[in-house]
């Protein structure tokens, strides 16, 4: 009878020790889930950065774009690799305000890819006259099931690179319309999103 002094019951007796145990388990699993999410998010971020570096290096080549066909050929090769991320790449002249590039990217509808690369005045991308008309230095890849950049509510990564582009420049002479191929400074902008 002496040993049963203060006895409430099996649960009542263990309740004071159950509270810290449950609290401990809640803390542990919360931190565990938080760590797992952070780990996954950082892995995605790092993979995206890595892919971005690879794609940018492949598109830039030796930091010199000789003509639109070369740029387009490199762009098409990129698209075959089936990246898990979507990306857009555009080349601007060196007068570009880099702070406004994202706004322009957000206004693009990639379903109209042909009109984006062919439009002469609508976008501020660097263009080049080819046999098929004016072509803009623009490349995009939308991953399978991916959404447009304008609909992207999640994180994205943007990068800029100085680049040289060979451009046909009109030479002002009195009688003849001549063209010289000269190398001009430009900026390659790239955005990657999920």
């Amino acid at each position: 009878m002496l040993s049963r002094k203060g006895f409430i019951g099996p649960i009542g007796d263990d309740l004071p020790s159950l509270i810290p145990i449950v609290t401990g388990l809640v803390i542990f699993f919360s931190v565990f889930v938080l760590t797992l999410n952070t780990y996954n998010e950082k892995n995605v971020f790092l993979e995206r950065q890595m892919d971005m570096t690879t794609v940018a290096r492949d598109i830039k080549g030796d930091s010199l774009i000789l003509n639109w066909s070369q740029f387009n050929h490199r762009c098409n090769e990129m698209k075959l690799r089936r990246y898990p991320y979507s990306f857009m790449i555009a080349i601007y002249n060196n007068e570009v305000d880099v702070t406004k590039v994202i706004d322009e990217f957000k206004g693009l509808n990639l379903d109209d890819y042909d009109s984006i690369i062919s439009s002469e005045n609508e976008f501020s991308f660097l263009g080049q006259k080819t046999d098929e008309g004016n072509k803009n230095f623009f490349c995009s890849y939308l991953r399978v099931g991916g959404r447009e950049f304008s609909e992207n509510k999640r994180q994205y990564t943007v990068r800029f690179y100085p680049i040289a582009v060979q451009q046909p420049i009109g030479v002002n002479t009195s009688n003849v319309n001549a063209t010289q191929f000269l190398i001009v400074p430009a900026v390659m902008a790239m955005v990657v999103w999920e």
Partner: protein, 253 residues
């Protein structure tokens, strides 16, 4: 004794649970620390890939672009005059070196200005963010000797007394002839925190046909107001021995 433990069974369970929560807290702290620090070094490495790509591209573009003999950069979608003679910056540098290899100043002032204008045009979209140093120096020179063929410093000058906020920071270009070869390591590295560099190797020949190997490089850093740059901007005597290049930004605009 046995009776004591029998009577204090509930307290023993409580102490056990407190131990349990202490262990959980330690584990949770460890996991949290891991979550915070995971990937930081990888991220730094990837960022360094980007900044290294950026500086390498900048250096390459400087050597690729066409400029007129008076230093005007060709711009896309522009019509140029038929009288304009286009060349590469390096062609001018090589000409200068060949003609002046026996003189103290081997790269003439017009070519130094052309280098500054090219730097400005190539890095124009990022002009408000960065300062940079472009140089050509003799490769394998004795440490401590003056080995620079040319050094162009592009700095922002911070003028706190200016009432117009747009004029508070201005871009200034300097042609420097440092007294020692290690001025960048000695003054710029410790002052600016993080700095990205890219180097290449070029060969310059004298008229006699003797060629020497030179190191060409660019250092880019995030613009900030530091003592050594303020001294250069104020025209004070420093080991950089700089002369201001006038009208670089104005002339190209």
């Amino acid at each position: 004794m046995n009776a004591f433990f029998r009577e204090h069974k509930a307290q023993a369970a409580l102490v056990d649970s407190l131990f349990f929560i202490a262990i959980i807290s330690a584990l949770g702290t460890g996991l949290f620390y891991f979550a915070i620090n995971y990937g930081l070094s990888s991220e730094e490495l990837l960022n360094s890939f980007y900044s290294s790509d950026f500086t390498t591209d900048a250096l390459k573009v400087i050597t690729y672009v066409n400029i007129t003999r008076d230093g005007e950069i060709v711009k896309a979608n522009r019509v140029v005059n038929s009288t304009d003679e286009f060349d590469y910056l390096f062609a001018m540098i090589k000409e200068d070196y060949a003609e002046n290899s026996k003189k103290e100043v081997k790269i003439t002032l017009p070519t130094q200005k052309n280098i500054a204008k090219t730097l400005y045009e190539v890095l124009k979209p990022f002009d408000s963010s960065f300062d940079y140093a472009f140089f050509i120096s003799k490769e394998g020179g004795v440490q401590g000797e003056q080995n620079f063929l040319v050094m162009i410093l592009a700095l922002h000058k911070y003028q706190s007394e200016e009432s117009d906020p747009l004029k508070m920071v201005t871009r200034e270009y300097y042609s420097c002839r440092p007294k020692f070869s290690n001025v960048i390591e000695k003054y710029i590295y410790p002052s600016v925190g993080s700095l990205d560099s890219s180097f290449g190797r070029i060969s310059l020949c004298e008229n006699s046909g003797t060629c020497s190997s030179f190191l060409i490089g660019i250092n880019i850093w995030v613009s900030k107001s530091v003592e050594i740059f303020n001294k250069i901007n104020e025209g004070d005597d420093t080991e950089f021995v700089c002369t201001k290049l006038e009208g670089i930004v104005k002339e190209v605009n």
